[in-house]
Symmetry: C2
Subunit: 460 residues, 2 copies
C-alpha cells in the first residue's frame, strides 16, 4: 500500500498536519483509499511524507476524531466505511447578489420613510457607551419580557403620553411589531382567524398568512373598523389602528371605541389588538388616549414601536398584555429570551428617562407638522384635489375625482414621483375611487416642494 | 341645564383646558350628561367656570375631536350617545411583580450559564460608540436579511472556523436562534412534523409546539441522531446538534454525517437544520467542520449564535439558507425588517473584522478548557464516577451506577448544588440510568472546586 499511498503536495499557509489530514480525509471520502484498508504506520508516514512525528500524530488523531479512520488495537489505523458523498443537486450554484434596484422615482412618497435628520447622534452614542460601561451585569441573560427597568420607564411613558393603564409587569419588549404579533398569535392558538382592517396594514395580512390564520377583512368607515361587520364576521380577534388608521388616516372617535370595547367584553375569548401606530404625531389636536386606557374588561392588547418615533434601525417594540394573556405568556415563554439586546434596552431606557425622547418627539413633531402643512398646502392648489387623513401621522390621501387611480399613479410616475394606489391596501372593499396614498416623512422640505410641483403638473 | 352642569374642581398640575375636557368627557361617559343634551355656550361656560375663552375653546375642540360631543350648526355642542363603559371583568387587578425566586442552590451547574468575566468591555463600548457616530445611514431601514457588510464578515468567519461554504447572500441575521427557527418554520409550511434529537434541546420541542408542528423524537446513539430511525419516522425536516449534541455531548463522526446527508438528498422536500451549538469550544481536538460544508445537495440549513461565544445579552444569531430556501425567504420576507438593530449589527461586524472576536474566543476557550479540566478532574475522584461528553462545549454528563438519577439530583440539592437529571431532556427514549448533566461555564474556578467537593461528599 505504501507505494500507492496518496501524499499531499505540501504548500500554502495551512499547517502541515492540517494539509496531511485534509488530503487523507479527501482520499477516504472519494474512495481512493478503500474502506478497511490500513494507513501506513506513523513512523512509516513520517519517512514517506518527510514530516515530523508530531505532524503525523496530529493528522491521525484528527482523522480518528472525525471518524475517517478507526484505531484498531495493535494494527494501527484503518479507513472507515463512508458512503460516497450524496449526489450534488444539479443547480446548486451559490446565489448571486441581487443588486439593489436603482430608485424607481426621484421622489418616493413612500409611507415607510422617516426623517432621521433630527436624530441626536451624540446623545445616543454617549448613552450607548455608558450603557455598556456601567452595566456589566447586562451581559447575562435577562428577563424574557425585557428588563424591568425599561418596562417601568415604558409604562410611565405610555401612561403620560397615551393614557395607557398598566403595570410594568404587563409590558413585553420585542424586536419589532411584526415579531410581537408572532408572539401574540403563538399565545392565541385557538384563534384560527383574525379580523383585519380593510383597507389595512399589509404586514398584518402577511402575518396572518405566515401563521396559518384566516385573515377576515372588515370594512373601515369614517370612524374606523365597522363594529357590526366585526360582530358578524365570527372572528374572536381583531387588529386595529385607532389613532391614525392605515391607510385612510381616520382617527376613531370615542363612541366607536366604546362599541368595539363592548364587542370584546360581551363574550369570552374576544381580543382587540390596538396598534398605536403613528399616535406620536398629531397636528390638529392633542393625541387621543389609547383604547387600552378605556378597557376595563382586560380585552385589549396595546402595541407600539420606536421605529417611526426614533428610527427604523432601532428594533424595539412593546406590547401591553391584559392579565389573562400575561398568565399565558408566563407559562409559555418563561424560558425564552427577550429578542432585544440588553445593551440596547438600557440605551433606550436612558433615552426615555433622561428626557431625550420627549425632546426628540417635540423636534420631529415640529418637523413633520411643517412638512405636512407644506406638502398638503402645495397639493391643495391642484384643482379639485381633496386631502384627507392629514391630522396625524406621516401620510395622507389625495383624491382627484377627474382622474382614475391608475392615471394618478401613472402620471405621477411619469414625473418620477412615487405614490401608492389606495387599492393596494384593499381586500374585499372597493377602494374610494381616484385616490392615492402619500407619505412625506422621508423627503426633505425642498424635495416635498419639488414633488408637489411635479404632481401639480402631472395631475392638472 | 346651567345649574346642573358639572364643573370641575380645578387643581393639580394639568392645564385648565385639560381638566375641563376630562371632567366633561367623564360626565358624558358616565351618563351624568345625557346623550343629546346641549353643552353651555362657550361664553356661558367661561362665566360659569371662571376660565378664559381659549381654555373653553380648547376643551370643546378636544371633546369634539374625540367624539364626545357633536358640533351642530347654530346650536352649539351636543353630547354624543356613547354606550356605557363595558362591564369590568371581575378580576382585572393589575398583575403584581413576581419577585425573582431566591437562588435555589449555592452552586448552580446550569447548562445555560456563560463566563462573561473575559468580555472586552472597553473595546465593545468603543466599537459601539464608533458604530453610531460613523454611520448615520444606519438609521434607515436595512436589508431584511441583515446588512450585507455583516453577512460578508459572517460568511468569511464561518468558512475559516467551521468549513461552512456559503455566499453572503445566503446569510440571514436575526434576534436569537429561537427566532430564526420561527422564520424557518414559516418558510416550510408543508413540513407538518419535525424530527428532534431524543434526548434533545428543550427549546426545539417548545418551538415545534408553538408552531403547531408535531415533534418526532429520534433516538441519539453514540454517534448522534440515528439515521434509520429518522428515515422510518416519515419526517421531512430534522433538527440536529452534530458538533456537541445537547445534552449527551456526542460529536457526530464523518460516517454518520454522510449518512444523514444521504437521507436528506435522497428525496425531495427533506431538510436538515444543523444547530452548530457549542462548536466554538473544543478541548481535545480541532473543531470538526460543519455538516453544511459537506452538503452538495443544498439540503442543510446551518445555524449559529453569539449568545454563548460572546454573551447572552448580544441577541445575534445567523442561519445559512440553501438556495431553494433563500428563494422562498426572498419571496416571503422581502418587505420585512431584520430583527437586529443596525447599530448592533455594525458593532458586531467591527468586533469580527478587527480580530477582537478571534482574540475573545481564544481567551474564553482557554478559560473554559481550564474550568472543564478542573471540574471533571475533581469529579473523577468520586468512586465509580464516569464522565462523558466533555470533549467540547460548556457541559458534560456524570454517571454513577451506584445511585439512581433521582438520588444524584437530590443528594446534590441537599448540598446546595444544582444539577439536571438526564431524564429531563428525554422524550420517548429511556435515559441512560444514574446520569446527570452539569454545566460549568457560569461558575468561577473557586466555585467549581467547592461544588466538586460538595458533590464528592453527596455522591460518595
Amino acid at each position: 500500500m505504501d507505494g500507492s499511498f496518496p501524499l499531499p503536495l505540501f504548500g500554502g499557509d495551512a499547517p502541515l498536519y492540517h494539509q496531511l489530514y485534509r488530503h487523507i480525509a479527501a482520499a477516504i471520502q472519494s474512495g481512493a483509499l478503500a474502506p478497511g484498508s490500513k494507513l501506513p504506520s506513523k513512523r512509516r508516514l513520517c519517512a514517506l511524507a518527510g514530516v515530523s512525528m508530531s505532524t503525523v500524530e496530529t493528522a491521525y488523531s484528527l482523522l480518528a476524531a472525525e471518524g475517517y479512520v478507526l484505531a484498531k488495537p495493535r494494527s494501527g489505523y484503518v479507513c472507515a466505511d463512508l458512503l460516497p458523498p450524496a449526489p450534488a443537486a444539479p443547480s446548486q450554484r451559490l446565489p448571486e447578489t441581487v443588486p439593489a434596484p436603482p430608485p424607481r422615482w426621484a421622489y418616493d412618497c413612500s409611507t415607510s420613510g422617516v426623517d432621521t435628520s433630527a436624530f441626536p447622534f451624540s446623545s445616543w452614542a454617549r448613552i450607548t457607551k455608558e450603557a455598556v460601561y456601567e452595566n456589566p451585569g447586562l451581559l447575562q441573560r435577562g428577563h424574557p419580557q425585557g428588563d424591568l427597568s425599561l418596562r417601568t420607564a415604558l409604562a410611565e411613558l405610555l401612561a403620560q403620553y397615551r393614557g395607557v393603564r398598566c403595570a410594568p409587569e404587563q409590558v413585553v419588549v420585542g424586536a419589532g411589531a411584526d415579531y410581537l404579533i408572532t408572539l401574540l398569535l403563538q399565545l392565541l392558538p385557538e384563534q384560527r382567524s383574525i379580523a383585519l382592517e380593510d383597507p389595512g396594514y399589509p404586514a398584518a395580512y402577511t402575518a396572518a398568512a405566515l401563521h396559518g390564520r384566516e385573515a377576515v377583512p372588515i370594512p373601515v368607515d369614517g370612524e374606523g373598523m365597522d363594529p357590526e361587520a366585526l360582530a358578524a364576521s365570527g372572528a374572536g380577534l381583531a387588529y386595529l389602528t385607532p389613532s391614525h388608521q392605515f391607510p385612510l388616516g381616520v382617527t376613531m372617535p370615542a363612541g366607536r371605541r366604546s362599541r368595539l370595547l363592548h364587542w370584546a367584553a360581551s363574550a369570552p375569548g374576544r381580543w382587540l389588538i390596538e396598534d398605536d401606530y403613528d399616535s406620536e404625531f398629531r397636528y390638529s389636536s392633542r393625541p387621543i388616549p389609547a383604547l387600552q386606557g378605556l378597557d376595563r374588561a382586560g380585552r385589549v392588547v396595546y402595541m407600539g414601536t420606536f421605529s417611526r418615533s426614533i428610527a427604523p434601525a432601532i428594533r424595539v417594540a412593546y406590547m401591553i398584555l391584559p392579565p389573562e394573556l400575561l398568565e399565558r405568556f408566563r407559562r409559555t415563554f418563561s424560558h425564552g429570551a427577550c429578542t432585544v439586546s440588553r445593551f440596547e434596552q438600557e440605551s433606550l431606557r436612558r433615552f426615555l428617562v433622561q428626557g431625550l425622547y420627549g425632546r426628540h418627539l417635540r423636534r420631529t413633531g415640529n418637523l413633520y407638522r411643517k412638512k405636512c402643512a407644506l406638502f398638503t398646502g402645495a397639493l391643495s392648489a391642484i384643482p379639485c384635489a381633496a386631502i384627507s387623513g392629514a391630522d396625524a401621522g406621516l401620510h395622507f390621501m389625495v383624491t382627484i375625482p377627474r382622474l382614475s387611480e391608475a392615471e394618478l399613479v401613472e402620471r405621477a410616475a411619469a414625473k418620477s414621483v412615487g405614490v401608492q394606489p389606495l387599492s393596494r391596501y384593499c381586500h374585499r372593499v372597493k377602494p374610494k375611487p381616484s385616490t392615492v396614498v402619500l407619505g412625506f416623512a422621508g423627503l426633505t422640505e425642498d424635495e416635498l416642494a419639488q414633488a408637489a410641483a411635479l404632481l401639480k403638473e402631472a395631475w392638472t
